[in-house]
Amino acid sequence: MTEDNFKMSNKQEEEVSKFFAPENEKRKVETPDGEIIEINPLQDYFSDARPKVHHPNTSKVVEKFLNWARAESLWVLGFGTGCGSIEIPPLLTPRFDAFRFGVQMRPTPRQSNVIIISGYLAVKTLKRVIRSYEQMQNPKYVLALGSCTINGGMYFDSYNTINRLDYYIPVDVYVAGCMPRPEALLSGFGKLKELIKAGKGEKANEYVEKFDWYKANQKKIIQDWNMPDYNW
């Protein structure tokens, strides 16, 4: 995993460029001094740094305490992908009341720890999911909901819906069903908490370690890859 193979090859760049929106293409602008400079939006505006592995705290006790805190404070990104997204709001109602378990909703990926992939995932949505996932900060967990995320579910033969989520982002917990009820979702949260408390919630690091494999899979189906390889 050197810096070189992380960057897109020229050929790749060319292939990709045919899908670029005009805003993505290199453009020439005139500076106030009258000089003409070239802007390469992808390079100039996006960080191309590679993600790093963030190791757990060396002290076991501390790490255990922190993991407990992480488990008891799951901030969920408000991102609904498929039909499962309609199952999330009931979590916050008096009937299910996920707040009891420290589950809270956040509107921005920067502050969230959990992303729920709630059902089938179109290729177009996958791109947004990847962005949002990469914008989340290191201890981060993926909760995949419904059979569509497991093997495509009823959309197994769709031309536009992925079949296996774990080829694109690392999944911590699957909740099977079509659709799973909120109770099942709560149980999924319970499972996730167990994993975190057991110190097994390190999928974020796994994503970084198997970064090239994930990227290759992602790029295989996302044809117009008009973003940097890692969305900081």
Binding site: L66, A69, T93, F99, R100, G102, Q104, P107, Q137, N138
Partner: protein
């Protein structure tokens, strides 16, 4: 300048008390809100867990120096308010660094954090942050008008700009409190406190579902921890400010806790009942009823 370590220690202790009380208070408020909605609600220790979790986030990004400094400014604003606020009346140890004439300082020091935060969020470059900030600044400016009228009214009433002196003047019975001696000023201030705490109907600064959380959209991890620490401190300190000005201050920590809880609860209570205002509505609202009350308070001097 000779450093009084004893004082510093007690100030730090007071800060810790205020921080923890602020966290607990926010948990209680959410609990109350949940119970009103017939939910069980969060565990009482949830704010602490959230705080620890946020500090425990491993990776972080920064957009630049000002982005980095924004939360520092914000927390400095909160802690600074605390430092200049006399907490417990009649106690040398719990008056922090308050001095005779701190009222104006506190009115203006509120902006220290706001401005820094606005700048930090601005460097994040997130459009929603800008929207949130512009709303926040717009709303806060109008909140301050009735607030100032009320403050001037009581400063004139007690002929002092010192919070300690104002508290001292209210001692000796509940009827000496400003809320009874100057009800209009109190009313104006208590309406403007709704905006200061930023609960519904005046919460469109953060408007979570509309502009993802407003100014702190880009803040996460440690930054967010710092911001949350500040929020806890600031809420208590502002409640204490109103307590000191209008409700006779506190002679013990228990009294402070009860009174600040009630003052904070007032804004939460209103927030439970009313939906959110748009920015021009809230700006206009603060310039109507609270302003008129404030003007009456001044006229009656």
């Amino acid at each position: 300048m000779n450093i009084d370590f004893n004082k510093l220690f007690f100030t730090f202790l007071g800060l810790m008390i205020v921080l923890n009380w602020g966290l607990l208070m926010s948990a209680l408020m959410r609990k109350i809100g949940a119970r009103v909605a017939k939910r069980y609600g969060i565990p009482w220790f949830q704010p602490w867990v959230d705080l620890v979790k946020n500090y425990a986030i491993r990776s972080q990004i920064t957009h630049g120096v000002m982005f980095y400094l924004g939360p520092v400014f914000r927390l400095s604003g909160g802690v600074g308010l605390f430092l200049f606020m006399p907490m417990v009346f009649g106690s040398d140890l719990w008056t922090n660094f308050s001095f005779k004439g701190d009222l104006i300082l506190i009115l203006y020091f509120q902006f220290f954090g706001m401005l820094g935060m606005a700048l930090g969020a601005g460097e994040g470059g997130q459009p929603h942050s800008f929207i949130g900030i512009s709303r926040g600044l717009s709303q806060f400016t109008t909140i301050e008008v009735p607030m100032t009228l009320a403050v001037i009214a009581i400063a004139v009433q007690y002929q002092t700009l010192s919070i300690s002196d104002i508290v001292a003047a209210q001692q000796g019975g509940i009827m000496n409190w400003t809320v009874f001696t100057n009800p209009f000023a109190t009313a104006a201030a208590m309406l403007s406190v709704l905006g200061a705490f930023g609960h519904s109907p005046f919460n469109l600064v953060k408007a979570p579902n509309e502009i993802p959380i407003g100014p702190p959209t880009e803040y996460h991890g440690t930054y967010l921890g710092v911001l949350r620490t500040n929020a806890a401190i600031l809420h208590v300190v502002e409640a204490v400010l109103f307590m000191n000005l209008f409700f006779g201050g506190a002679t013990t920590w228990i009294e402070l806790i009860v009174k600040s809880f009630l003052i904070y609860f007032w804004s939460v209570f209103v927030g439970m009942v009313f939906p959110r205002f748009r920015i021009e509505q809230s700006v206009a609202w603060f310039l109507k009823i609270p302003l008129i009350l404030g003007i009456i308070a001044i006229i009656l001097l």
